[in-house]
């Protein structure tokens, strides 16, 4: 979302307050905009954070390099569309697969050495990786934010009968909903999903009934990182992509995970929706307050429910 449009809507809000009644349609319009944009933003948050939530729930591993995986996905999309001339959607798939595959190397090579270490050591290792990723991205792509060429059907607005909405955000919502359905099915209705749930619930017990949690973890880590890369690719149009993406939005992903509860699909979705809508509403109605709302909501939720919405106490 650009600051300009948010400021315009803030102006509309002030106008309404000044002249009172007679502007109800205007108010409804703003509310619909907030819900729509908030939903699109929430889908981005969910796609990017869900992998982090499951890996943290499964191994208790604090992965601050998750944002770097998302950023890597974004830059792969930029390279494939701008330099190699692929179109947007296939590039997203390439980014997700490539980053998912690469993440296995990191998991096997580095992360697994630290599963039994303290939070602090995990934080340091992964933030070190994030710094290196930022530096590498700056070296190859420069510090200036990148954009990505979109196909025609993702540009402009789409008519939903009663009003027009930006096509790209509509696409984001549809894609998010589809992914949620797939993930929900995989999580709740397949054998692997059942194993993951078992391992999140009680790792030792799962191991003792013969589930290979290590291999399971490598798999979920790869899928989660791939989804993060997909989210990074989707974010280019939504938020812009510069090397600082890796740390700038990491905080947001971590908040979604903490508020939702570790390892819970349902919790991550709920947290993404709540935070996405609150953040968008805050930016529409009070542009100056910036991210205030997200953090205020986070603090309140975590003070009341320390393990998040659906986390285990």
């Amino acid at each position: 979302m650009t600051r300009g449009s948010a400021a315009a809507h803030k102006g509309a809000a002030a106008f309404f307050l000044k002249y009172g009644v007679g502007l109800v349609p205007q108010l409804v319009n703003i509310a619909v905009s907030i819900l729509f944009d908030g939903l699109a933003y929430a889908m981005f948050l969910f796609i990017t954070s869900v992998g982090l939530s499951v890996t943290m729930g499964l191994m208790g591993f604090v992965n601050l390099a998750h944002g770097a995986f998302a950023m890597a996905g974004g830059y792969i999309v930029v390279t494939f569309t701008r330099t190699l001339g692929f179109s947007f959607v296939p590039s997203l798939v390439v980014a997700a697969v490539a980053v998912g595959a690469a993440s296995v190397v990191f998991e096997r090579g580095l992360y697994r050495r630290l599963y039994k270490s303290t939070d602090l050591e995990q934080v340091l290792l992964t933030i070190g990786l994030a710094f290196m990723a930022i530096a590498t991205a700056t070296y190859f792509y420069g510090p200036i934010p990148k954009s990505v060429p979109l196909p025609d059907w993702l540009q402009g607005d789409v008519n939903l009968g009663f009003r027009y909405f930006p096509s790209y955000r509509a696409f984001l919502i549809v894609l998010g909903a589809a992914l949620i359905a797939v993930l929900w099915y995989a999580f709740e209705r397949t054998n692997i999903g059942a194993k993951i749930r078992a391992a999140v619930d009680n790792r030792r017990m799962a191991e003792s009934v013969g589930i290979n949690v290590d291999r399971l973890f490598t798999l979920t880590f790869a899928v989660g990182s791939g989804l993060a890369a997909l989210g990074g690719g989707l974010a280019i149009q939504l938020l812009g992509l510069s090397p600082s993406f890796a740390v700038l939005y990491l905080v947001l992903f971590l908040i979604v995970v903490a508020v939702g509860g570790l390892g819970s699909l349902k919790g991550t979705l709920l947290a993404a929706l709540v935070l996405g809508v609150f953040d968008t509403a805050g930016k529409y109605l009070l542009a100056d307050a910036g991210g205030f709302f997200v953090y205020a909501v986070t603090v309140v939720v975590l003070l009341i429910k320390p393990a998040g919405f659906y986390g285990r106490e």
Partner: protein
């Protein structure tokens, strides 16, 4: 225990005495401890034109020292320690810009009180939580403060900050000079006072209790130690010290912006401390000095290269040198003494 399972009263007394002697011995001032202070003075005479940078190093040493109290000794992992640094910095900055309170030394005390108060309030609520929840809550606290500052940019100056602050001469005599000589010595003196205070805390029974909490919180609960109260106390003290560091930062720079609350600032001080070594007092000195000097040198060459380098150093530190630079020295020392014996 070789003698017997039943310890007689006299034995008990002896054991107590031995324990007390051991603690006193640890507490005793060692000659090697003069070294960093002499070095700091030597730097003053060797690099008279780099004193502004020198003051920055001293400020970061103090900031890292405050983090060492809670992270190194009490084992509280926080990602929002910059909150207190920022509060200290803004206490002095706002007092000077809006209230014309420009006396530097009383400014330090004011910063300590305000930051300590905020530390007490937030600590009292937050230190019930652990792990990821605590990380997120501390992080959110720092960002909420930053956003509050941004919201009231009419008072705080927003991201443009409060530039061009002026402070009264130190003790009414020593004025601010262009090369920052006065403020280097001023920061060094403040650091010495704070360090003495921290050293006393660390070697006191209270400090031992903190180490106990870090090592095994359940056992501390079991022996009846008031864990939460201890944690809040040390969090408050660390917040106050971070506030003093922030106040010194504003006074030596004569400006302050909202970036002091950045996540980067919290992460940076943690990196410094880890590089130097946690829970060992002088780790903050080594870590902050090494980090700042390397940053100063390499970021001039290429900021990208520097960022990659510090990331690599972190990864290598975690994989191979978990106890920091000072830990490496200790390992080397042990290796040599073991080799000598046979």
């Amino acid at each position: 225990m070789a003698a017997s399972d039943i310890v007689s009263a006299t034995d008990c007394g002896q054991v107590r005495q031995r324990a007390a002697e051991y603690l006193l011995k640890r507490h005793r001032f060692r000659l090697a401890e003069c070294l960093p202070w002499l070095l700091a003075l030597a730097v003053f005479f060797a690099f008279p034109d780099r004193m502004t940078f020198g003051s920055q190093v001293l400020v970061m040493v103090m900031f890292a020292l405050s983090l060492d109290l809670i992270l190194g000794y009490a084992g509280i992992v926080t990602l929002g320690h910059a909150a207190f640094f920022g509060i200290g910095a803004y206490t002095v900055g706002l007092a000077a810009a809006r209230l014309q309170w420009t006396e530097p030394i009383s400014g330090l005390f004011a910063a300590a009180i305000v930051a300590g108060f905020v530390g007490f309030i937030t600590g009292w609520f937050l230190l019930r939580y652990r792990g990821l929840t605590l990380l997120m809550l501390t992080l959110a606290t720092a960002i909420l403060l930053q956003e509050t500052g941004n919201l009231r940019s009419d008072i705080s100056g927003g991201y443009d900050g409060l530039p061009g602050l002026t402070f009264k001469p130190l003790l009414g005599v020593f004025d601010y000079d262009l090369y920052g000589h006065t403020y280097y010595l001023y920061a060094l003196a403040a650091l010495a006072v704070v360090f003495y205070f921290v050293r006393r805390i660390v070697y006191s029974p209270f400090g031992q209790a903190l180490t106990g909490i870090r090592e095994n919180v359940r056992r501390m609960h079991a022996i009846g130690s008031p864990v939460h109260r201890r944690l809040v106390t040390v969090y408050t003290i660390a917040a106050a010290i971070a506030g003093v560091a922030g106040a010194l930062f504003t006074q030596t720079n004569t400006y302050v912006t909202l970036t002091v609350f950045d996540f980067d600032n919290s992460a940076k001080v943690m990196v410094m401390l880890i590089l130097g070594g946690t829970g060992r007092l002088y780790g903050a000195f080594v870590g902050a000095a090494v980090y700042m000097v390397l940053e100063d040198y390499f970021s001039k060459l290429s900021p990208t290269f520097w960022q990659f380098g510090i990331g690599l150093v972190l990864v290598v530190t975690v994989l191979f040198a978990r106890r920091g630079v000072l830990g490496l020295f200790e390992n080397a020392g042990q290796y040599l003494t073991v080799r000598k014996k046979p």
